[in-house]
Symmetry: C2
């Protein structure tokens, strides 16, 4: 197999790369070649014995998308994108990267012709939905995003579905819930605090909570997200039908539930490192976001998330903190 | 008022122009200036005493969108577009005109700045929906188009909503049902036969019916469509909220019901001019189209269609045939 990962230097991209490299295959087929692309030079996959190409490129720059698929990858994980907070602050950059970059990739695939029809796994987001919502968002709920990021992701879904219907590529769009706990430094996503209030206290650092503890949200671990991507790559076209964009499952809970999990697992001293500090911009964005996602189709198609937020906290401690935390 | 109509040489564009010209105003405000734009030179509005600019231009050509709004129209009716059949046959042209043209218009408005925020009425289509459907499509049903035209319209809706949310323009998207009876020559829309089976027999000409008489569809007259456009132009922003794209109401009936209306109004000899001749391409496209549209929000906001298909046939005879038909 020949695999291209765009956005390979991002958190999900790095974890996906390491997982694929350590398994040496995807859905039972060995991986011969990995192309890792990002706007900054990605780091190579350790433990991978096949050929690796590292590419620093912006897909929205003319010619770059064609170069990225020059070796005709069978499977493309298109993770590249500007996150929600940044897309809201920089309108042009958000549309250029999230819309034009995705369209350039689709056009490059189409221009290849010659029967080339790769599986293209596209990471969309539950930010395609916008308030008001029913108690649980069903699979057939309309997309009325309340951020530019959500609008760009919704447009990407529509393009992916049309290019797939026309036979130019073989797309699967997966709407990720908030991926928690993100390791490392905070990024510019408005959802960053959902990770921050777990990650920073476990590292002995104070964390800011910019919204009320009553806020309800749906979460999945980075490990679950990698599982979604790999499942999407292996999904039979017939099982999917023409509605190729799917809401992913997750753990639905309040911020108070998140904090309770942290307290149960790491103790009161750790949980006490969360400081309430309201941020009106973040609160307004989060207010427009979905709370509970039904994800019935995805569950039926074998996509699996965690069963509790406790599991999510434990995965972070295990995977990103070597099993320990700062008491 | 200063009004721009794109797609002004099309059927809806010409009827809207004549209606605005004959009324001399829109929603109680006098019209001083009309800019009529299309890829072919539009004809001037008869009976209009204000200034008229006629422009032959393609909005997707760099610079044309900015020129089109140089006189800062208060209200823009964006009707320009490639129809469904053509967008399916010519992938590049459909995306260039329907997506890039719409985006260029939005970008030109945004680039004007300086507080310029026109009411932009965008004609979308019920082709944004794709089968399978519930018995009646509710306002919160997801958009899963099964044509490139539908995908392009769905993307236009998403752009319009985001540009409106960001304060760059003041958009209202209206999803038109099939507009029937279209006068004149058939166009390349796959829905063309819905008009053809009424228009041609009334003109003494045989008409082809490419689908089964059991096909259910939602229709509105060109007169109703002009009413939708004018209502959309006058709608208060507060009444609309952030969900600015609305499914329009219409008359929902079978092809058999359409034929029965024709027979009731024009007699058996006229109705006998319909010839059944199955067309697999048209049948496949129409199979994926919505049948019954709920349009609850639009009705509550004062958008009105006809109450029966008989009314639609009579409007055609009255408005486009001078009150007569070929027996």
């Amino acid at each position: 197999m020949n695999i291209l990962i765009t956005g390979a230097a991002g958190m999900i991209g790095r974890k996906l790369t390491e997982r694929l490299a350590s398994e040496g295959g995807l859905n039972g087929r060995p991986i011969d070649r990995l192309t890792l692309l990002d706007v900054v030079m990605p780091t190579t996959a350790t433990r991978f014995t096949g050929k690796t190409d590292l590419v620093a490129a912006d897909l929205s720059t003319p010619g770059e998308a064609a170069r990225a698929i020059a070796h005709r990858p069978d499977t493309i994980f298109h993770l590249a994108g500007v996150v929600s907070g940044e897309a809201e602050l920089d309108f042009d950059k958000g549309y250029r990267v999230n819309l034009d970059g995705t369209r350039a990739l689709l056009e490059a695939i189409r221009a290849t012709g010659d029967g080339y029809r790769p599986r293209l796994v596209y990471t969309s987001s539950i930010a395609v939905f916008g308030a008001p919502f029913p108690e649980s968002i069903p699979d057939d709920f309309h997309l009325t995003p309340l951020t530019s990021y959500g609008a760009q992701k919704a447009i990407g879904e529509a393009l992916l579905a049309d290019y797939t219907r026309r036979g130019f590529c073989d797309g699967v769009g997966i709407r990720l819930p908030s991926i928690v706990v993100r390791p490392g430094k905070p990024n510019k996503a408005a959802s960053g605090f959902f990770s921050g209030i777990i990650r920073e206290p476990l590292a002995g650092v104070e964390a800011q909570l910019p919204v009320s503890e009553a806020v309800v949200h749906t979460h999945a671990s980075p490990r679950a997200a990698i599982g979604f991507l790999m499942r999407a790559a292996g999904l039979a076209r017939d099982a999917l039908g023409p509605r190729i964009n799917l809401s992913m499952p997750g753990v639905c809970c309040t911020v108070a539930d998140q904090i309770a999990s942290l307290r149960r697992i790491a103790g009161e001293r750790v949980a006490a490192r969360i400081r309430h500090e309201h941020d009106p911009l973040v609160a307004r964005i989060v207010d427009g976001w979905p709370q509970r996602i039904e994800a019935r189709r995805a569950r039926e198609l074998g996509f699996k998330a965690e069963n509790s937020f406790d599991e999510i906290v434990r995965i972070h401690i295990d995977e990103d903190r070597g099993g320990t935390f700062v008491d």
